[in-house]
């Protein structure tokens, strides 16, 4: 067998092995998007009903729809609040629990529990904790005299978004923390030893060793976290259904409601496509601006896999 034959058979094997996953993703993600684009140019109301082609009408309607524009704004706020808050908090927690302490193994394992239980459990848990009359937070705060009347965590339009951001972070911060922890563990120990010999303090060690080593992970998680946050539907749907009023109606919530409760799948599809385009533009700009970090992340991977 010549070197070239060997390479070819290896290339074929590699391709065959990844192909099933690629086919599945095409089947349940790419095809639906193509189908969604088709639907968005029609007047179809429900799946299976009759329709005609209406061109760009749905898109033009949406751009004139105050509700839709407002939901885009709420999605932007939601993504920034969740993405930023979660990334910073999980990095801090990871730094905090990275050094050995008693109970470290317990913390590393059980910290993940909020992420691992169904969103339905999270929704029940926090709707009850937030409850005005029987929720532990309100009853104990009033018992202590901190509050005079209960805070309507989910029923007050001004704080419902903050409450949901808290609950959503409660759910995702543990997972992000574990990912940060793994990337902290891969920072070479020798660099710290050398810094200690040079008399570098904790802040200097963080600035000159930890942070640069974490930057590729931070950047990738920044992108993935943003996309995950924009995707959140279940928690919002179960806790407020986008309410009170429309105060927590982000784009996914509005479009789901439009499709399955407003019986207008073509309008919902058009809204979905617009949102998707915005996310893709964001991802491209983000990757372009941080291309150095992405190349670094990729190169660490290549070096290691040699």
């Amino acid at each position: 067998m010549t070197q070239n034959d060997f390479r070819n058979s290896e290339a074929r094997l590699g391709l065959y092995l990844i192909l099933p996953a690629v086919v599945l993703v095409i089947l349940v993600v790419i095809l639906p998007i193509i189908s969604g684009i088709q639907i968005s140019f029609t007047s179809q109301r429900v799946v299976g009903s009759e329709f005609e082609t209406v061109g760009l009408k749905n898109y033009l309607d949406l751009f004139g729809d105050k509700n839709f524009i407002a939901s885009l704004g709420r999605s932007a706020v939601w993504v920034i609040a969740n993405g930023l808050f979660q990334t910073i908090i999980s990095l801090l927690i990871a730094l905090l629990i990275n050094q050995p302490f008693r109970g470290q193994n317990f913390v590393r394992t059980w910290i993940l529990l909020p992420w691992a239980v169904p969103a339905a459990v999270t929704a029940i848990l926090w709707r009850w904790m937030f409850d005005a009359t029987s929720g532990i937070i309100n009853t104990s705060m009033m018992g202590l005299g901190v509050l005079e009347k209960p805070l309507l965590f989910l029923a007050n339009p001004e704080i419902a978004g903050i409450s949901l951001t808290f609950v959503n972070s409660w759910r995702y911060v543990p997972f992000l923390t574990i990912i940060f922890l793994a990337s902290l563990a891969s920072v070479p120990e020798e660099e710290y030893e050398a810094a200690k010999v040079d008399g570098a303090g904790m802040w200097l060690q963080f600035k000159s060793i930890t942070f640069p080593n974490l930057l590729p992970t931070l950047t990738v998680l920044g992108l993935v976290g943003t996309l995950w946050a924009s995707n959140v539907f279940d928690i919002i749907w179960m806790m407020t259904r986008g309410g009170p009023g429309v105060s927590t109606t982000t784009v996914p919530v509005l479009m789901y409601d439009t499709a399955f409760y407003g019986y207008n799948i073509s309008k919902a599809s058009a809204g979905a496509i617009i949102f998707l385009l915005l996310l893709i533009i964001f991802a491209i700009v983000f990757i372009f601006l941080n291309r150095k970090q992405f190349i670094l992340a990729n190169e660490t991977f290549k070096d290691l896999s040699k």
Binding site: E10, L17, P20, A119, S134, I178, S186
Partner: protein, 276 residues
């Protein structure tokens, strides 16, 4: 110097305890609530229950479709694990140990599924699955879960594969053992902890899933635990918190047991063995 150091470490421990309290106390609180009579939950409650009752669990286990939901959830999760594992192991090996043109593009393509908000995908998926008779089918639901578990699963497992010592594999290559035999005889046994972690990841993805199950499973008989439970709990005008608490405990329990048994392997697996 020494005393200020210990002040910092005590402070650090306190912050850690506070964080764990915020993350875990709600579970303890709902566990206690699940043993309280519903009447006691509506009024202001004391920290320690005054009355202990099993009425909430009786309504959950005997008067609701709980066991049917559990079985349905298990079926969907089992399908998801069975479908995901081969795809993830093959995909991770392909990305990690073979060289071919387009490899990077394909692995990036797979990760790009997370760019598409699922709530926006369900409309066309509903239409396509309708044509394939995958609506109202546990398999259809599991297919969606699999598609969203696989890309991240590949990423997690290839990180784990990277951390394995390469010697055995190199020896196999020198002996002229084919790549595919190397995968089955050397990589898979070595990567067993990583594969357990991936199986657990796929199970959790499916067990916690809400949107696809809600949209694609129409008949009550097929509802999974999250759908059945929230349908009853949030379907009423006044929430029966006792029942809700028992239901939450009954839904979190399988995950809790899983963590108890293989939790540490899971952490090791997803952190590529970097955390011992």
């Amino acid at each position: 110097m020494n005393s200020s150091y210990s002040v910092i470490s005590i402070l650090r421990l306190l912050v850690i305890v506070l964080i764990m309290f915020i993350l875990l106390a709600p579970f303890l609180w709902i566990l206690i609530a699940s043993f309280r009579p519903n009447m006691e939950l509506v009024r202001n409650q004391t920290l320690i229950p005054q009355n202990i009752t099993l009425e909430n669990y009786v309504s959950l286990f005997a008067k609701s479709a709980y066991w049917k939901w559990v079985i349905n959830s298990f079926i969907v999760s089992l399908y998801t694990v069975i479908l995901s594992l081969p795809l993830i192991v093959a995909g991770a090996y392909s990305v990690y140990r073979t060289q071919f043109r387009g490899r990077n593009v394909l692995s990036f393509f797979l990760l790009s599924v997370y760019i598409f908000p699922t709530a926006l995908l369900v409309v066309p998926i509903f239409k396509i699955f309708d044509g394939l008779s995958l609506i109202d089918s546990h398999l259809g639901c599991a297919l969606m879960n699999t598609a969203f578990a696989v890309p991240f699963g590949i990423w997690l497992l290839q990180a784990f594969l990277r951390s394995l010592p390469p010697e055995l594999e190199e020896a196999a290559a020198v002996d002229g053992i084919s790549k595919i035999r190397t995968l089955f005889q050397i990589i898979i046994p070595q990567a067993a902890p990583g594969i357990i972690a991936i199986a657990m990841f796929a199970f959790i993805v499916s067990w916690t899933e809400y949107l696809f199950a809600m949209t694609l499973l129409l008949s009550n008989d097929l509802h999974t635990l999250p759908i059945g439970l929230t349908g009853i709990v949030f379907g009423q005008y006044r929430v029966n918190w006792g029942f809700a608490a028992a239901g939450a405990v009954g839904s979190a329990l399988p995950v809790f047991i899983l963590f108890l048994i293989v939790g540490r392997w899971f952490i090791r697996g997803i952190s590529a063995g970097a955390i011992k």
